[in-house]
Symmetry: C2
Subunit: 197 residues, 2 copies
């Protein structure tokens, strides 16, 4: 059965989920950890929507569809993943447009800029220019810490490129540690209140 | 070659496009007309982005991916279309969050409410509650006219359901005719300025 989850993403179990409990997260592989971050943000957005605090969704992954079999009721039989030309998340909070990208790094010391697509930087710069709130959520996997950091900082680092990666120390200095819990998993809206509104 | 178009959608040719010229639009079939409306809105959004007037994108269609063949470099071999749990378009304009859905009707007299998914009404009501700008763009195909209409009106009609379809007369009365041209195809932002800001 096909189920239409909000945002097209199956929510992870929130109460008892051993695999993604904050304490056990650090033992996960990097690939899993990326999915964990996405699930945690989706959970948090679902929580915010249920509590009527903000309306934020993950954009669906863009797919280039080549072949569809209509004989069995519109089954896509050949398609390719495309790069998101914007960011993963956007929505409305307290009347403001909010837009962000989530990334994780498995390094303890730095976040490689190669993780970010140039069109995402272009997009976030435009969002800022048009009065939107723009940031990154960056998970430093080995530290088991997740930061919210103003897109202005990341974009200017990206443009000036003093280094090919941002030192984790700079992320700690310019970003803000997101409080983790069970519900919401990553409570990032209080940081939006504090630093953007 | 795979090309990543903005918004994941191939822009239509803007200058000389016989098939979709305003004068010839009425001869197109209903299915084509839906695509034409989508293309016209995508073109207009691209124009607005290029002119740095607003940052508005179509959300990619959500796909439920079942099988991926990694032996040939991540080809999706089985997937299904899912219903968008929100609307098709959103973005930022003059600092405000903007969200809308585009629909077309082949009837000269009415727009059937069955064209709108309940979760789209829920979503637009939430957007309004959180201070966003929400509307519908409705194309009345046989009249070759496209209207921008406040989501408040459509949502309240949907909730009260005095009829199963909205009379075109009501759309004309409560909505605003969008000026059509070549560039942008559907110049809807002036109506946002006039009626929402």
């Amino acid at each position: 059965m096909k189920i239409n989850y909000p945002g097209g993403v199956k929510p992870t179990k929130i109460t008892e989920n051993k695999e993604t409990s904050p304490k056990k997260r650090h033992i996960l592989s990097a690939a899993n950890r990326g999915m964990v971050l996405e699930n945690e943000i989706n959970d948090s957005n679902l929580y915010y929507r249920e509590k009527n605090m903000a309306i934020i969704y993950k954009r669906p992954t863009p797919i280039n569809i080549v072949k569809v079999d209509y004989s069995r009721g519109a089954i896509i039989t050949q398609a390719y993943f495309e790069t998101q030309s914007t960011t993963d998340y956007n929505g409305v909070y307290k009347g403001r447009y909010l837009d962000f990208e989530a990334k994780s790094t498995k390094s303890k010391t730095s976040f490689p800029l190669s993780n970010i697509a140039p069109q995402q930087i272009d997009h976030l710069e435009k969002v800022i220019e048009h009065g939107g709130i723009a940031f990154f959520i960056i998970s430093i996997n080995p530290l088991n810490e997740v930061y919210l950091i103003d897109a202005k900082y990341i974009c200017s680092f990206y443009r000036e490129k003093p280094r090919k990666s941002i030192p984790v120390e700079s992320i700690k200095e310019h970003g803000h540690l997101i409080k983790e819990g069970y519900h919401p998993r990553l409570d990032y809206l209080p940081l939006v209140d504090e630093f953007f509104l």
